[in-house]
């Protein structure tokens, strides 16, 4: 698993990358009540704002960590945003992206580096 400074996690599954936000992020955000996901088929560029999250406290944007195409989104999460709080790295995933250049994931932190950042 790789991690961005925006508290996203990236998990490579074959030629796709699954993206969500970390438990640290969902704890900081508080109870998540709304998630707006991109459309399947969207072509996105790294740093494009692709997800809106609303917690009981505030709205936040999540950027695409990679260039590529959105190939699947978590419809269960849209119906039940609390999944992101309950299981941030499992059932609370956001979307799957087919990266244009899979090597873009290399620039992100590993778990040890991420844990050091949030410590």
């Amino acid at each position: 698993m790789k991690y961005t400074e925006e508290h996203e996690w990236l998990r490579t599954e074959g030629d796709l990358v699954v993206v969500g936000i970390t438990e640290h992020a969902t704890t900081q955000l508080g109870d998540i009540v709304f998630v707006e996901l991109p459309d399947v088929g969207d072509t996105v560029a790294k740093d494009d704002e692709v997800v809106v999250i609303e917690s009981v406290k505030a709205a936040s944007d999540i950027s695409a960590p990679l260039d590529g195409e959105i190939v699947e989104v978590n419809a269960d999460l849209a119906d039940n945003p609390a999944l992101a709080n309950e299981d941030a790295t499992g059932a609370g995933w956001f979307f799957k992206i087919k990266p244009t250049d899979a090597s873009q994931t290399d620039e992100y932190m590993d778990e040890a580096a991420y844990n050091a950042m949030i410590a």
Binding site: V33, V52, V56, K57
Partner: protein
């Protein structure tokens, strides 16, 4: 941040694991480890304990109750003289334009009027009232904390400390001994639930809070849930839903102005902005505070601009409070719209992230009140 004031319960909040934030000049708990959503649900289903010690507690006394009541009626468009002893009522200070300087609670304590005002307004309220009241004395109570115990279990919890608490009705006030301490108790609150507000000497406030928290049904609740609870209950937050630029009629607070203070009443007018407010009571105002339910799932918060349709350029109003209502399981908001668009069921549009999304004008409260009348 270093200038923030602390309430007498500050150390208890830290011990309970609260996340603290600056609010109205005080360092206050916004949530505890339970989290805003669960704290909200806990208050609606069991009982929540809130620290509201940041609010101002005032005593106004004259030669007798009537003297104090009539003096205060010159600043507040409410029947204070006719308030029975040991009863409380909602009111507001108005300005010359008919706007609201602050909203407050007034209680007839026999030899004085006990007033609770908003934290952010209290210094101004005190200066304003001291300048505007003649023949009475105003005393700010600075050595007492204020706790709120709210929720369906509140009666059983407080009744266990003093059975007289259970006999009180909504808006009754009484002096009760609780855990050995003389407290000023009202059966009221700001969540839409049954419950109490308890003024307790600062030195004993933590012990009383601990005694209440020792009950299995009681959990500490922060400002985050307090805000979603009051919004579901359709209650105004001063500085947001009402302020110096909104009149009581625009704010849909007509109910708080008794007939006696309206045109044709025995003590009609005689308060700041009476000409504007009395006219609006008879003829209506151009705009009105309404409940709004976003049709989608996305919360629309304070500041979202409202439009009559998908395409028009001219805003019609804006949202003054908005968020997610845990009890209703969806987004909710309050805001101002033209009176022509204020009927329940009307669709208006809020601009969120560049998109116009529909909201339905809805009656308030969003959740039915559970007061013990």
């Amino acid at each position: 941040m270093s200038d923030l004031q602390k309430t007498p319960l500050f150390d208890l909040h830290l011990a309970l694991g609260a996340k603290m934030v600056a609010f109205a000049g005080y360092d206050m708990p916004v949530q505890y480890p339970m989290g805003v959503m669960q704290e909200h649900v806990h208050t609606r289903t069991r009982a929540g304990l809130f620290d509201v010690s940041h609010m101002g507690q005032l005593q106004i006394a004259g030669a007798d109750y009537a003297t104090a009541a009539l003096a205060l009626e010159a600043l507040i468009p409410v029947d204070i003289l006719g308030l029975q002893e040991s009863r409380q009522r909602y009111g507001f200070l108005t300005n010359e334009a008919g706007g609201i300087r602050d909203d407050l609670m007034l209680a007839n304590r026999g030899d004085h009027i006990f007033v609770v005002v908003n934290a952010a307004c209290k210094a101004e309220d005190i200066a304003y009232m001291q300048a505007g009241l003649s023949g009475v004395t105003l005393t700010e109570i600075t050595d007492r904390a204020l706790l709120a115990l709210q929720g369906p279990a509140a009666e059983a919890v407080l009744g266990a400390l003093n059975s007289e608490a259970a006999d009180m009705r909504f808006m009754d006030v009484a002096t009760l001994r609780l855990a050995g301490v003389e407290c000023w108790v009202s059966r009221s609150g700001y969540t839409g639930e049954d419950g109490y507000e308890i003024s307790v000497p600062a030195a004993q406030a933590t012990d009383l809070a601990k005694a209440l928290l020792a009950h299995e049904d009681v959990a500490p609740i922060g400002l985050g849930a307090r805000d979603s609870l009051r919004l579901e209950a359709g209650l105004c937050l001063y500085g947001h839903d009402i302020d110096a630029t909104t009149t009581p009629v625009e704010g849909a607070l007509n109910w708080a102005i008794q007939k006696l203070r309206r045109s044709g009443g025995d003590r009609a007018g005689g308060f700041p902005g009476a000409d504007v407010i009395l006219d609006q009571l008879q003829n209506g105002a151009d705009r009105k505070r309404v409940g709004l339910r976003p049709e989608g799932r996305a919360p629309m918060r304070e500041g979202v601009v409202l439009f009559a349709d998908q395409t028009g350029d001219a805003p019609i109003g804006q949202i003054t409070s908005g968020g997610f209502g845990p009890t209703i399981g969806g987004p909710m908001a309050m805001g101002y719209v033209p009176s022509s668009l204020a009927a329940t069921g009307t669709t208006v549009f809020g601009e969120l992230r560049g998109k116009r999304l529909p909201l339905t004008v809805t009656g308030l409260p969003f959740t039915p009140a559970n007061f013990k009348r």
